[in-house]
Symmetry: C2
């Protein structure tokens, strides 16, 4: 029954699915859970292995947090994406903690660490897939790090607005300055100041609802 539910999705998402044996397929499906997380829920807080999370609908935010509660977004996961950094028991060379929140109501399939680790123990294909997914997240994180360390704020904000606008296919970005700052690993004051500057240049219009892009071409040029 579990298999009938999860297998069609796993077959599509996991490139290793057709290479593992029936018993492992059974075990992974039998251990799997379908969970709906309400917007704002912390799904993983770094303290223990939460297993592998597959996003069916919605959006998860993966971030790191300081002792003082300052957080920096590493990346977001959308439909069809997999979170493996939450599965520390599968990746024992991974020694840092991340947090994962549901950014909107999100339906997920959860493969608990123990079932996944057991299958990956005797299936090198699973291990390779998991490690490769982690390494590709490494690339994402390096990009964020380079942005934060090296890039000027105007360029970073322009990139964020352009990316977000094409992702949601709208020129109106309904996020508060606080939220934008959080995505960018910056401070609200810094974002507000830069948005005010962008507005004065006629690039955007800032309102209570969020940010409306007025001159996409100029914003894209800034983002280059």
């Amino acid at each position: 029954m579990a298999r009938a539910m999860f297998e069609p999705v796993y077959k599509e998402i996991f490139p290793f699915w057709d290479k593992i044996n029936e018993q492992d397929k059974d075990d992974i499906c039998r251990g799997s859970l379908a969970v709906t997380y309400k917007k704002g829920t912390t799904i993983h807080d770094g303290s223990e292995c939460s297993g592998v999370i597959l996003v069916r609908t919605g959006c998860l935010r993966v971030y790191i947090m300081s002792d003082e509660g300052k957080d920096v977004t590493l990346y977001r996961l959308h439909e069809g994406d997999i979170c493996v950094l939450s599965a520390s028991c599968v990746l024992d060379t991974l020694t840092f903690d991340v947090f994962v929140d549901a950014e909107v109501d999100s339906e997920c399939y959860l493969v608990p660490g123990c079932a996944y680790a057991a299958a990956s123990e005797h299936n090198k294909e699973i291990k390779i897939y998991t490690l490769e997914t982690a390494v590709s997240r490494f690339s994402d994180v390096m990009w964020v790090m380079q942005q934060i360390l090296f890039m000027s704020m105007d360029k970073r904000l322009a990139i964020f607005l352009c990316d977000e606008s094409s992702r949601i296919a709208s020129d109106v970005i309904e996020l508060t300055h606080e939220q934008i700052a959080r995505y960018m690993g910056s401070a609200r004051e810094v974002v507000s100041r830069m948005l005010k500057y962008f507005a004065s240049e006629g690039l955007v219009e800032v309102s209570r609802k969020g940010v409306k892009i007025l001159d996409k071409r100029a914003l894209k040029a800034l983002a280059m």
Copy 2:
């Protein structure tokens, strides 16, 4: 002949060595190079695959660099360490560029990307080892990122001085403020200011030769 030279070292360093076939061992050894890099040489500049670098003696610095030439150290490699981030042709999920410099005169064994990639193509053990090494570097980099983003400068500098002092087994750290700043991904001015403060507190003595630790206990307490 190549095999007689490289195999004893590879056998010790690569956990996959005993699991791969003779042909692959031959190919890897035959493709291998013993290279001595002079202090300051850029070994890898991110532009193309330099293969896998094994440090025999000396020290390599792995860093990222902005368009403007600002650089941030990710980690350093010492005797027996392996650099896989320089082997982009082996790790195709790795999409960011790092730079690698010889920090002192360093003897290295170099396994060119093509030989290593070919062997790793039909040896999952090699692939897993390479990916695991990359993921463990991911952990190092996250640590650096958290330091830079979240930690106060006094704590970071205290940690650096304590770590460096135990690594070289000496209380005298013969590095310029510029060099320390570079290791820490900070600016020389910031490091100089903080060292002056540390000196005024009696923690260190700053001279032309470098930094001498006077009160290790207090410095360690600061680093906690």
